[in-house]
């Protein structure tokens, strides 16, 4: 069994994205989760990465400007006619 000392925080930090993506092996995942259950600092780091992902998804919606749509529709109708 891996002890807390044998599995440094620095290593946990390298594994976070693979953890989210389900790309860790069963053993790696178990070791990381054990570490996270002990280590509030790494648990905070993992939570912040999750939050970063969530917040990146909140960038705003954009509308198509009407003149742009007009140009594009015009191009659609011109297609293969030129």
């Amino acid at each position: 069994m891996t002890s807390y000392e044998d599995f440094p925080c620095e290593q946990a930090v390298t594994m976070v994205t693979d953890y989210f993506e389900g790309a860790l092996s069963v053993e790696e995942r178990a070791v990381l989760e054990r570490h996270l259950s002990w280590c509030d600092w790494c648990a905070t780091y993992v939570e912040q990465m999750r939050e970063t992902v969530r917040l990146s998804g909140t960038l705003r919606e954009e509308e198509v400007p009407a003149p742009v749509m007009d140009v594009l529709l015009e191009a659609l109708h011109q297609m293969r006619e030129s």
């Binding site: 693979d18 389900g22 780091y45 912040q48 919606e61 198509v64 297609m79």
Partner: protein
Amino acid sequence: MARLAGLRAGRRQKRPSCRGWRPQRRCKLTAWDQVSPLTCPVLGQDGAVDDRELVDALRAKDEAAFREVVIGYHSAMIRVASFYVSSKAVAEEVVQETWLAVVKGLDRFEGRSSFKTWVFTILSNQARSRGAREHRTVPFSSLEADERTPGVPGERFQPPSDRWAGHWSDPPSPWTDVPAARLEGNETRSLIFDAIRSLPPQQREVIALRDVEGWSPEEVCAALEISDGNQRILLHRARGKVRSVLEQNFARAVTP
């Protein structure tokens, strides 16, 4: 279906009903640590048949279909383009040029990639060359130090000589005290936007498509022609750096 909670309910309301090629059908990324892509019904329905239907409609100059796909992809296209070029106005030009190229190239589209992938590949190429012409340089020097723990410099861990080598010496402070209005406010959005813009190009592309647009790993790998492993490395670096920008900002919020 509750497991697919990530579908962007708010964004879908504006758009008409569902068909496979319409861009709102996506799994949001936060669901990916729970949902296997192999079992995701949304991805499972995405496919060549609907793409063919769309492309046929566009070739037939179906204005409604065209209008819908242009509107549906617009936000994502503007944002992806904005990460490369100097202003939103230029990004809008790039998006317009992309659609003109799509219309011109419709006859050549063979369906080897999905329609969406094809459009975004054209967009990335256009935006990248436009950005290069603008001579945009994007240093992220202070944060490049260690790419394995991106955004967390080595000094924040105990040195090898220490009994607790590799454990935190300067651990992150929780964001639980940051008020929600601040956490999700405009300043945070603009910090994230600027942080993504400053990333090296490949990291920028991966995080923009995965985390901002909510594409699946498979879609991103196909669009950028990279392996799944490479995609995860780029994503890890990009997220780590964006997190560190937020960390610096929220640290100021918590300890004024």
